[in-house]
């Protein structure tokens, strides 16, 4: 490949293509270069036939069926693959719930007066969550209630007889029944992660079906962690409402102090946004026009949905933000942060600032963030960026002139309130009437990451285009939302070109009822990856309204370019919820035909959901459409 094609094969985002050209000229290595060096990747790992769970190993099983046919301990391919996928689910669950636990600790410290920079931003949501959890709200101050909610949240991590409240209180009756019958209601979030580590240890669970059922329960614990993360963030920082903003690297400003918040948790990034306002004068006296906060990955989504902070870039292209030369600091918390950022930052004269005790990167500057001194620590971070700006301001930068308009911030509360403007007494009715009459054929949630194995955004764009044309209502979270927003899929101006007639009419009607002067955007932004819980909340809401369980609804999900183990655990809870769930990259399960057939077929008989693993976005879209059609037909629609 030569010229521009070389970069088109890496990303469909023109800003990324432009920046990749610069990386090549400067000889700076990126994730795509490292991927090429990694080829061929290990066939045993790729098929899940590699086990490192004990010191007699590593073991691998011949994928062609010749010897060795089992691990040294005698574990078969089925066992090895099931144990491997279980550990991925546990890791994803640990991460999402670690994020939620961090919020719970922050909330508790706030109520104890130990985190003075945090406040309750949404007391209504606090009360709603408390009620749902069965906490009496009578005569209690908001702070008292927040303390009880935080304590209940922390109590959900240990094993307890009642099970995890953030699972039992968020599910509809149908799901609760199905999951109880499979013994898939988690007893404690940390307990489930720990139990996966136990049962996948040398010489414990050696039955693929039993292992996968354990993984399913852990997946439901992951839903609880995500749901808790969303609830607590909404209480502390506000429940999102639609907001107009921009996405892509064009949001960087050469004459401002540019700080990218990267990672996941709003606990830190909210403080950066808050303190940036206070530090504005300091930036101006350093010769800048102000401070420009932008987002990368999910902490970007968290800031976007609550404050309209623009998104710089997402996931696989995170190094590109630094390559513009315009980023003065990239401040990170945890998850999805490539260690290579430090090298790129060094080349570009920028700074990577780590803030969390569990996430340090050699070569990065570390400013230990604490809730007690949150504002102070945020100021320290901003100061470092201002210092970098002073050195950078006279140098040329290469900010691609690419940005899309985005309307983001559709919490379930915001969606319901938008629908109330159509029908105040029965808000869900217009949505469901349109699903019944076929104006909306079904609903698809896009989630997950950008994977270097896929030309960036290609799977998301190809599938979303086809679904929108076929009148599927598209929701998106995380870097899946990032992909779609950078290509204009969250700009109402593109409804005309992207959506089928039925969907267009519905989006326009809701837009007009809300005085938007136009339709809702083609794709609805639900937020970050923990905010996949919002999609679950929405389908539970619809399911309760209709009295039909989720596995009958024409709703599907797709992690079209998944990377993280978090995407695996989200996929598992989507399947537990009863959704046909597409994954656009290979899961490491092919080494076991048994596990493959359970995940893609047999589990359908248990939860109603199942995995669709397909690497071709065209046929993936067809399969998602036919899954929707199958369910419509079963409902008599």
């Amino acid at each position: 490949m030569t010229g521009h094609d070389e970069f088109k094969a890496r990303s469909l985002d023109t800003a990324v293509q432009e920046t990749l050209k610069k990386a090549k000229e400067k000889g700076i290595e990126t994730v795509w270069d490292r991927y090429e060096k990694m080829l061929p990747q290990c066939g045993f790992g790729d098929t899940g036939l590699c086990c490192r769970h004990c010191l007699q190993g590593p073991c691998r099983i011949n994928p062609f069926g010749d010897e060795p046919k089992t691990g040294i301990c005698g574990a078969t391919a089925d066992v090895m693959v099931a144990r491997g996928i279980d550990r991925a689910i546990a890791a994803g669950t640990a991460a999402h719930s670690g994020h939620a636990k961090h919020l719970a600790h922050t909330m508790l410290k706030m109520t104890e007066g130990k985190a003075k920079d945090y406040t309750i931003k949404d007391a209504d949501k606090l009360k709603a969550v408390a009620k749902r959890l069965g906490i009496s709200i009578e005569g209690k101050s908001d702070m008292q209630l927040a303390k009880e909610v935080a304590e209940t949240a922390l109590g959900d991590f240990a094993e307890k007889h009642e099970g995890v409240y953030w699972a039992t209180t968020v599910l509809n009756e149908g799901r609760k029944k199905v999951l109880s019958s499979l013994n898939a209601i988690p007893k404690g979030i940390d307990h489930e992660v720990s139990e996966i580590m136990h049962r996948t240890l040398y010489g414990v669970d050696a039955d693929a079906v039993n292992l996968l059922l354990g993984g399913l329960r852990c997946g439901v614990a992951d839903l609880a962690g995500c749901y808790m993360g969303t609830d607590l963030a909404d209480i502390l920082f506000g429940t999102p409402k639609p907001v107009i903003t921009k996405a892509n690297m064009g949001v960087l400003k050469a004459d401002m102090v540019n700080i990218a918040a990267h990672g996941h948790n709003p606990v830190l990034s909210e403080m950066i946004v808050k303190m940036a306002e206070e530090m504005k004068d300091e930036a101006i006296s350093a010769g800048a026009k102000g401070i420009n906060i932008v987002g990368i990955c999910c902490t970007g989504n968290e800031l976007m949905e609550r404050h309209g902070i623009p998104a710089c870039t997402h996931s696989v292209s995170q190094e590109m933000a630094l390559l513009t030369g315009a980023l003065d600091a990239i401040v990170v918390d945890y998850q999805c942060i490539m260690p290579s950022l430090v090298t790129v930052a060094e080349c570009m004269g920028s700074k990577v600032i780590t803030t969390m005790d569990i996430c340090k990167i050699t070569g990065a500057e570390h400013v230990e963030f604490t809730e007690q001194e949150a504002g102070q620590k945020a100021k320290e971070v901003i100061k470092i960026a201002i210092e970098t700006f002073k050195r950078r301001k006279s140098k040329a930068v290469d900010i691609p002139n690419v940005q899309s308009t985005v309307i983001a911030g559709f919490s379930v509360e915001a969606i319901v309130s938008a629908l109330m403007n159509v029908n105040p007494n029965d808000p869900l009715k217009p949505l469901l009437d349109n699903i019944k009459n076929g104006n909306i054929r079904g609903v698809c949630l896009f989630a997950g990451c950008n994977n270097v194995k896929v030309p960036q955004d290609k799977n998301f764009l190809t599938i979303a285009k086809k679904l929108l044309k076929n009148n599927v209502l598209v929701l998106a979270t995380g870097c899946g939302a990032g992909a779609l927003m950078r290509h204009g899929f969250m700009d109402p101006a593109n409804v005309e070109g992207l959506c089928g007639e039925g969907l267009k009419a519905v989006l326009t009607a809701i837009g007009q009822a809300n005085n938007l002067g136009g339709p809702l955007p083609p794709v609805i932004h639900l937020g970050s990856c923990v905010d996949n819980s919002r999609a679950v909340a929405l389908v539970v809401h619809i399911s309760n309204y209709l009295g039909v369980d989720i596995d009958k609804l024409p709703v599907v999900a797709s992690a079209a370019e998944a990377v993280s183990e978090k995407a695996v655990s989200i996929g598992v809870y989507a399947v537990a919820m009863g959704l046909p769930t597409h994954v656009g990259v290979m899961l490491p399960v092919l080494g076991s035909p048994t596990v493959t057939s359970i995940l893609t077929d047999k589990i359908k008989g248990l939860t109603g959901g199942y995995f669709i693993v397909d690497l071709d976005p065209e046929t993936s879209a067809d399969k998602l459409l036919s899954a929707i059609n199958e369910r419509r037909k079963a409902l008599g629609l």
């Binding site: 080829l39 061929p40 290990c42 011949n62 062609f64 060795p68």
Partner: protein
Amino acid sequence: MKNPKEIFVNVKKCTGCKTCEIACAVEHSKAKNLYSAISELPTVKPRLSVEWHLSGKSIPVLCRQCDDAPCMHACITGAIRRDSRGVVVTDTDKCIGCWTCVMVCPFGVIGRHLQTHKAYRCDRCPDRDTPACVQACPTGALVFAQSDEYSRDKRLAFVSEIAEATKEKA
């Protein structure tokens, strides 16, 4: 005339795991064990490489020990000769690092060691009966056999395929 064994590649069986590369590097290290080999100087190099093709296929490529070896003809200092095993070897004392061998090799399997300034390539593991890569290959994609043996196995595989196919039709 000698009929030495060669390393043949069954391309259908290669999973691209690169286990052969690791085994080769370890075999050519001083310590001959992985834990020490990874920090040895001069840096230990594998002498074969598994190359990946866009089709998804991966194929190990290594010195073919050509009977009429272009590298041997081209070597200006006479450093390259065939030893008593029939293996083409480079005498590192004579090698001046001109890379003519690299230039003429049709397979691109001669390496340049940037620390020793010498050429290196597969030496068929002189200390072993079976080369390390062949022994390490977990799928049997590398086969160490005389060419007539190898061809006979291929013929038999072909014959059994034909036999199966015609049985089905009958």
